[in-house]
């Protein structure tokens, strides 16, 4: 079939920066699934009976249906990622389309990505507070700053 020309969003530098950092933070979030799987397997702590079938008879495998503090910690980190990266995904996209200075956009995206990576280390190691709290607050504030720019540019109620 004939193909319509796609508006060249990815020719724009601010949009390319958004594409880059969004992909990075989403890949980082996806990594949490692998970390969870790693801890479930090494700690032998599963959520579903069918996941423990390879450990032998139903009766003896039952003891692996349990929660483990390390697994639960990774899961909390994963959920915190969802709660914070979903707003970045949406508000960041609109911000990138709102015509920001490239340098200002880069500053927002870099700080957000750095804060979320720090947040993951602070959660998983874990580092003493307020490491995790501060890294969370930095990412949160960056998102608020982008939301302000979006509403200032686009407000249409």
């Amino acid at each position: 079939g004939e193909m319509a020309k796609l508006p060249q969003l990815l020719d724009n530098e601010a949009f390319r920066a958004y594409a880059t950092y969004t992909t990075i933070v989403l890949l980082k979030m996806m990594l949490m699934s692998l970390v969870t799987a790693y801890f479930r397997i090494t700690r032998k702590a599963f959520a579903n009976p069918e996941d423990t079938a390879s450990f032998g008879k139903a009766e003896s495998a039952k003891k692996y249906l349990r929660t483990d503090p390390d697994v639960e910690r990774v899961r909390r980190g994963h959920l915190n990622d969802l709660e914070n990266i979903v707003p970045f995904l949406g508000i960041g996209l609109l911000y990138a389309l709102s015509g920001p200075e490239v340098s200002t956009a880069l500053l927002h995206f870099r700080i957000f990505a750095g804060a979320r990576i720090l947040h993951t280390f602070a959660y998983l190691i874990p580092l003493p507070q307020p490491s995790r709290g501060l890294s969370w607050a930095v990412g949160y504030s960056v998102t608020i700053s982008m939301a302000y720019k979006v509403l200032k540019t686009a407000l249409y109620l």
Copy 2:
């Protein structure tokens, strides 16, 4: 560097309306993190040992590692936001790009945002059912309606 001209999505009224209401519902969702923090601190109910370190010695601080009904209620509301606002984020974007009447688009976005704000009040106060159930169903139906328009306009399997 030279900057490519960004396609002016935000010159379009339906897209501006999407940008506005998406930012509003995402900010509302982000507020749930602050409400959770507020209840965790006032109810002294934490999920991580490092969060209770400021309450004294490890032994005495341990009793603050617990679940609290108010904290869990806010967390359920936050998760329900994720489950419903993520579909709105994606389907609403595609709907805004599908060339809807501005007035029809505004109607969808306003009802969705209003329903999710009501849902939060219904969950946190809490209001007797079916307040929460109905506000959930209204937001859900608006999203289905937008999905129908997207598939009618764009279907390409």
Copy 3:
């Protein structure tokens, strides 16, 4: 008001394919809310006191405030959807904008949607492992493949 012409993203075939499959997987994810509600009602297992009020006096209704294995299973499936469909939503959008071959894009989107639908069946029936694990891994790999294309096309650090 006068309306600005929207960049015709939905004239592009790869973008239309993205719109179609994203809407499908988001609708599938939304279905999990209905499945949860179905199991909560048939198993009489609720999370909020106000949800059990119709079952009679506070005291006798209290016993329905409990967790149920079937409800928890659906909830785990729903959360797994969120963890995997959110990355698809963001990375898939950027991938569709990165100028892929239409046939390659369709291949990615079809496999992802098929894998997530299989994952839901594997979780809810449940099918013996590694059905669920494999369907999860296929969707995950498709997302990684799209992320690679996005970063190759758009990288701007």
